[in-house]
Amino acid sequence: MSNPGNIHDKVEQAMSSIDKVGRAKSNPFLYTRIMASLADDDKRERTIFNRPAIALASVLFIILMNSLVFFQNSETSTAVGPAQEDEQIFAKEYNYPLTTADRLYSVNDDQ
């Protein structure tokens, strides 16, 4: 069976084992490593799309172009095209109801 007094002593000894610890010395080439790392970062930053302002401007440009194309398409789809114009002229000439609602009213009027 383990002796509690003995364990207590070991715990206390472990707790005080770093009381007189010295400061660890760093790698003497740390500065060289840091400068190499900074040079690598510089190279990476030189890629044009890594700059936040340019990346943001590119995204905004793409959104703008997309919305321009979208609105242009929606305008052309609501405007009356040449085929529809012919249809309207034909309907006017022969008193033909152009929409379903007009057709229904004309049926009701006949009755």
Binding site: S2, K10, S17, Y31, L38
Partner: protein, 191 residues
């Protein structure tokens, strides 16, 4: 040249000032990281990251606190981030090993021997460091800064941006937890 002059010159992009800053504080940063990450290679990587951040964000240092306090804060944050990343990687490697992939990646962490510990205390200190590694982040930070860097409770409070009484409480809990972990360790060793 004093600390403030060095910082002003670094803000102006002076490389010699940066070299001087690195040479003055590299052991302090390295020792702090080493206490937290408990690996010589990882502590070197963290120290490098700390000074890269210092170089890139020196303009954010407004002089509200001591420069060393600011440096300690960066060192502690980077070290804890490094530990989190390492634990995440370990967990992922363990999951992969369950499916038979990357079995070599799951290795037991070797015992850590702090280079500043005397030969007669090496073994006990290694057990203590293993226990420190099991502490929650804030207790680990307070204990490491106080015990390994020799900072007073007031200085630890400034680094951790908290009050002295909070640091006292963290230290009390850290010591209690360490004693419990060490007791369990020695009991299991005897059985």
């Amino acid at each position: 040249m004093n600390e403030l002059e060095l910082i002003d010159r670094l803000k102006g992009g002076d490389q010699a000032a940066f070299k001087s800053i690195v040479e003055t504080w590299q052991d302090m940063v390295y020792n702090t990281s080493l206490g937290i990450v408990q690996s010589v290679e990882d502590a070197e990587d963290v120290a490098q990251e700390v000074f890269v951040q210092v170089y890139e964000s020196i303009n954010q240092f407004k002089g509200d606190s001591k420069f060393s306090t600011w440096l300690y804060r960066i060192a502690v944050t980077k070290s804890l981030d490094h530990l989190r990343k390492k634990k995440r990687k370990k967990r992922f490697a363990f999951l992969q090993s369950l499916f038979g992939v990357n079995e070599e990646e799951v290795r037991h962490t070797p015992d850590f021997n702090h280079p500043g510990v005397g030969l007669e205390n090496k073994e006990k200190a290694s057990v203590l460091f293993k226990a420190i590694d099991k502490l929650p982040d804030n207790q680990k930070t307070a204990f490491t800064l106080h015990k390994l860097e020799g900072l007073s409770y007031q200085e630890v409070a400034e680094v951790m941006e908290t009050t002295v009484s909070s640091v006292e409480s963290l230290m009390h809990r850290a010591k209690g937890n360490l004693k419990k972990i060490l007791t369990d360790y020695y009991q299991n060793l005897k059985e």
